[in-house]
């Protein structure tokens, strides 16, 4: 059969995986955080999404975790996979060892086990950084749209791709120490709106939002954000760029 040629798996027996989940239910006063191991048999193309659901269906219905799209585009399933933030739904078990340790993203409010409240933090950040197009002119919906350079549109999309997964916050040492730090995601949002000509805000306005040590000047260039971002956003260059622009404002009166 030709199809066999196209499969990678040989005749090796499937691996037994030990998946250790950091369990804790804050709603239960008796609960203490602990690592709970689950043994499952690895299957072809198994992702952590499949593995965790199999555990929940067959072994322990009480494990909490969040998946929505299970396709790596919604940002719900970020967790610490062997200590590194990543999207569980698109992580293949075959790329990991036989013992896999899963823990909830640090920094965010814990809901239970692997489930954290990133949404609440993201909404707070959106309000704080006012992440929407600021344009006082009423929207004209019957007339031709304002033209935009095709390259600019693509450049904006490049920064718009953030899925608010929170990996960059979990990967940032500064954020671990200082709760009010806006993080790479916040800075990237500002960079995105700054780039957008439809947003009428000036650098002075942006300085009001991120011109302090909880904003761009708080970033210590640790680059954890850049290295863990599952969408591979150019966080490093964007933060550097913003820092230059905001520094210029610092010398205006």
């Amino acid at each position: 059969m030709i199809s066999i040629l196209h499969r990678k798996t040989g005749t090796l027996p499937p691996r037994r995986l030990c998946i250790q989940v950091l369990r804790h239910n804050p709603a239960d006063p008796a609960s203490v955080p602990h690592l709970q191991p689950y043994e499952i048999e690895e299957a072809e193309g198994m992702t952590l999404f499949i593995a965790l659901n199999e555990i929940r269906a067959a072994q322990d219905p009480s494990v909490q975790f969040d998946f929505v799209c299970r396709a790596g585009i919604c940002g719900s399933c970020a967790m610490l996979i062997d200590g590194r933030p990543g999207l569980a739904c698109r992580t293949l078990t075959r790329d990991l060892g036989t013992t896999i340790t899963l823990a909830p993203l640090p920094f965010f409010e814990l809901i239970g086990d692997l489930s954290v409240n990133t949404g609440k933090w993201m909404r707070g950040t959106a309000e704080r950084l006012q992440t929407w197009i600021h344009d006082a002119t009423p929207v004209a919906i019957d007339t031709l749209e304002t033209p935009m350079d095709p390259d600019l549109a693509e450049a904006i999309y490049e920064l718009d791709r953030c899925i608010e997964c929170g990996c960059c916050i979990a990967g940032c040492g500064t954020a671990q120490m200082r709760e009010d730090f806006v993080g790479a995601i916040g800075l990237n949002k500002i960079a995105r709106f700054r780039l957008d000509p439809r947003d009428q805000r000036s650098d002075d306005d942006f300085y009001e939002l991120i011109g302090d040590d909880d904003g761009v000047f708080g970033c210590m260039s640790l680059l954890g954000c850049h290295d863990v971002c599952p969408k591979q956003l150019p966080l490093q260059t964007q933060i550097a760029y913003l820092r230059r622009k905001m520094a210029v404002i610092g010398f205006s009166s």
Partner: protein, 278 residues
């Protein structure tokens, strides 16, 4: 029964040209107006980088001056006298060196003060960072940790060294320095100071480039690989240079130990007469 709570939702109302009711959304008002944000965070951040850059450049230059001992005793002697202004003022003025030391000291303290803001404040932050660093095992995060510690160490070690230079500006010369290094038992301090200073400075320069986006290339990751390579190269070069130099001082210091305290007299009496006590 008043179950509906409409408080607030109507006072925002207004009618637009089409007769439609609209809310004055934040969209139509300029971004938060009230108190203007202080410009100082920007300035302090720049100052931190500028002071760091200055110190790093100074350190590199200083390493070259100090290492002239490797060329010859006279070379080092000449450099030392040069900084005392012997060649413009007619005679060496060690106070000039003290002046420079004071300037460096001020910048140094400024830098340390600015950088200290970034230290973990308190045990909670310290633990949070440690835990994070250990679980993430991420090179740049670990580098920062190294920088914190080397900076912290420099704070003490460099202060001692600077204090020496401030108080005894005249005692810089092949024998004088070598005696200080060996007979004065300064070499262990210098060894540590060398490692700390060079690591701290090269990491600092690397991070300066990242922080401000200097020498940026199209592909951020390739750019970073290059920078990291440059950083390693700088560390390696200066540490080697420093070690060899230190070894030279130790050598000379041991050889000169029985005559410790004797001032160096250049082979050709070309340099102006030293006004020291000798």
């Amino acid at each position: 029964m008043a179950l509906i709570d409409n408080n607030g939702s109507h006072e925002l109302l207004d009618a637009d040209a089409s007769g439609q009711l609209v809310i004055h959304a934040p969209t139509t008002t300029p971004a938060r107006q009230p108190r203007r944000k202080s410009r100082w965070p920007a300035r302090l951040d720049m100052l931190q980088s500028a002071s760091g850059l200055f110190l790093a450049v100074f350190l590199m230059a200083h390493m070259f001056f100090v290492s002239t001992i490797l060329i010859s005793h006279d070379a080092f002697y000449t450099v030392a006298r040069f900084f005392e202004g012997a060649y413009f003022l007619g005679k060496p003025q060690p106070l000039l060196v003290s002046g420079v030391v004071i300037v460096i000291l001020v910048i140094f303290i400024t830098h340390a003060w600015l950088a200290m803001r970034k230290f973990p404040a308190g045990y909670r932050q310290y633990r949070a960072f440690m835990q994070h660093k250990n679980s993430l095992r991420h090179s740049d995060t670990s580098l920062w940790w190294l920088q914190i510690w080397t900076g912290f160490a420099l704070f003490f070690m460099a202060t001692i060294h600077l204090y020496d230079m401030l108080m005894q500006p005249a005692l810089i010369g092949p024998y004088e320095s070598a005696d200080r290094v060996w007979t004065g038992n300064m070499w262990p301090l210098y060894l540590l100071l060398l490692l700390a200073a060079e690591l701290h400075a090269s990491i600092g320069l690397y991070r300066l480039a990242i922080k401000w986006g200097w020498f940026a290339a199209k592909q951020p990751n390739r750019y970073r690989r290059r920078l990291r390579w440059a950083k390693h190269a700088i560390s390696a070069f200066y540490i080697t240079l420093g070690l060899v130099t230190l070894a030279a001082y130790v050598d000379l210091g041991r050889a000169h130990a029985d005559r410790a305290g004797e001032r160096y007299v250049p082979t050709q009496q070309s340099a102006p007469q030293h006004p020291g006590k000798h």
